[in-house]
């Protein structure tokens, strides 16, 4: 953000959001548990005995050297894309959140809060872009490409008909995301009423794979989808290697770069999270029914001697 931009005071959540508890729901904490097993923690924690240390988000490097994706994605591209763009988002977000309520929060939580039901707050762009780029580097690997296998392959066949149809749909999303943005494969396993945003595919059944595209910094976390794969279609992602030829870049990404292992392991975590949510939902419903049953029993005894109509 430009140095002259208005400082936003995040000290009072209610000043920014509808006054409701900052409840993030069980869905996000279970996402964190799975992500924690996979990633190092992004934020440092305050040490109890030292003066307050501002938590800083870190610039995480790709899981391979910057030249490892040659000749399909050049070292020059990686050095700008990761070294300047991704680094810039980290530095700018740290500047924006220092001393505010967002300081020290997990990245996913910052993204969720600042998306603000689509009425995006300034830190969202930086926070979401940090997440998106980490996810993007991990979606690729040296000597990538090939075909998906195992459970992932089965679900692709089930939900798209065939690998070719899926690839076609993914390519089409990536080509038709006008302007800057991203194209995703995601696992959709949420309640239709998505608290933070408008569900873009409300008619679809749950627990299935979907291809979605998003503009600028938006990502499927805000729709409560579980991302599995992404391609960056901001021009800076491909202009040095492909100039205006986005279609060629997309092809090379699918044929030579994509890490199906990463996609497969994310799918396993997505399914585990969905199963966990289902059992928590069942537990919650059972408890509600039990409480409702108890309340009815009490009411029966209260009303048995009354001549007046029942309260409800």
């Amino acid at each position: 953000m430009a140095a002259g931009s208005t400082a936003i005071n995040f000290s009072t959540p209610c000043a920014l959001f509808p006054c409701q508890p900052l409840s993030l729901g069980f869905s996000r904490s279970s996402f964190h548990r799975h992500q924690a097993a996979k990633n190092q923690r992004r934020s440092t924690r305050r040490a109890a005995s030292t003066p307050a240390i501002t938590a800083k988000l870190e610039l995480k490097p790709p899981p391979y050297p910057l030249n490892a994706l040659e000749p399909h994605m050049s070292q020059e591209t990686l050095s700008y894309h990761w070294g300047k763009h991704h680094r810039g988002y980290v530095e700018n977000l740290n500047k924006q959140i220092t001393g505010t309520e967002l300081d020290g929060m997990l990245l996913e939580d910052i993204i969720f809060l600042t998306y603000n039901r689509g009425d995006i707050l300034p830190p969202f762009n930086n926070a979401a872009q940090i997440w998106n780029h980490e996810f993007f580097w991990e979606s690729m690997k040296p000597d990538g490409g090939g075909k998906p296998t195992g459970d992932l392959l089965e679900l692709i066949k089930r939900d798209f008909g065939s690998i070719d149809t899926f690839m076609e749909e993914f390519r089409a999303a990536a080509s038709t995301q006008f302007g800057s943005g991203w194209a995703w494969l995601a696992y959709k396993a949420n309640r239709l009423d998505v608290g933070n945003a408008v569900n873009p595919s409300p008619a679809d059944e749950d627990k299935k794979l979907v291809v979605v595209k998003s503009p600028n910094a938006v990502n499927p976390l805000v729709w409560d989808y579980y991302p599995l794969l992404v391609i960056d279609v901001w021009e800076h992602a491909y202009i040095l290697d492909f100039e205006a030829r986005r279609a060629d870049y997309i092809s090379i990404f699918m044929e030579k770069l994509v890490s199906w292992e990463a996609v497969g392991s994310r799918l396993e975590m997505a399914k585990a999270q969905a199963a966990e949510r289902e059992s928590e939902e069942r537990r919650r419903q059972e408890e509600e029914e039990k409480n409702a049953g108890d309340a009815e029993a009490v009411e029966m005894y209260l009303d048995s001697n009354s001549d007046e109509p029942e309260a409800d």
Partner: protein, 232 residues
């Protein structure tokens, strides 16, 4: 059939600028072609490289023209068939590609080589209006540069004139939205393209350097002419 042709041929809903040479297809549908640049690709160096100018014109702008023509043909067909669902579905393609054609046609005229007046400050009524509405030319440039730097994703920064309120405005639009989408009485004078393809090959991620430098080749004579016409 004749009615729908009349609707297409009267381009009141499109930008009232002479955008490109018009081609008439055998079906009578008005389509568009890529306008020539009024200078060589290399003529804006070192401010904007010849490589960028060539790709920007021959690839990006040409693609908007091609896809705009395709969308117009599909629109013509859908209207003739009485297919409102397809007509509505085509609106985003028309806006993307038609907007891209409109905006870039203005952009090429907004630029001029230094030896043809590029960078020379505006005089006359536009110069006065800038001082009145922004304090100074420097202050206007700083405002537009700040808007351009802060713009997330792809888009444009505009200096425009509100022909109803008789006042200059600075506005941004996203993607290829033309300035008129920000207000029906807004007329574009200068547009700065801040899509990455406009500067990245030369300036890489340093968008502010591109914005600081582009003023050296801005053609204020064109902007003044448009301003005087709208203020008459």
């Amino acid at each position: 059939m004749a009615l729908s042709l009349c609707n297409l041929v009267s381009r009141n809903s499109l930008a009232p600028l002479p955008i490109g040479r018009l081609l008439l297809s055998t079906r009578g549908l008005q389509t568009f072609s890529l306008p020539d640049l009024p200078y060589d690709y290399g003529a804006l160096e070192p401010t904007i490289s010849g490589e960028i100018m060539m790709l920007h014109h021959q690839k990006h702008h040409q693609t908007y023209v091609t896809n705009y023509n395709k969308a117009l043909e599909q629109l013509d067909d859908a209207m003739n068939r009485g297919d409102p669902s397809t007509v509505v579905k085509l609106q985003s393609a028309l806006k993307f590609n038609g907007g891209g054609h409109i905006n870039h046609s203005i952009f090429w005229k907004n630029l001029a080589p230094v030896n043809e007046g590029g960078g020379e400050p505006p005089r006359g009524s536009l110069g006065w209006a800038i001082d009145t509405d922004f304090g100074s030319l420097e202050s206007l440039k700083q405002k537009m540069n700040a808007e351009g730097a802060a713009l997330q994703g792809s888009g444009w920064v505009w200096l425009g004139v509100d022909k109803e309120l008789k006042r200059l405005v600075v506005e941004t639009t996203a993607n290829q939205d033309p300035l008129v989408t920000k207000g029906p009485s807004l007329v574009p004078l200068i547009g700065l393209d801040v899509w990455e393809h406009a500067y990245y090959l030369q300036y890489k991620n340093v968008k502010p350097d591109y914005l600081n430098n582009i003023w050296k080749v801005i053609n204020w004579k064109y902007a003044s002419n448009v301003y005087e016409k709208e203020s008459a």
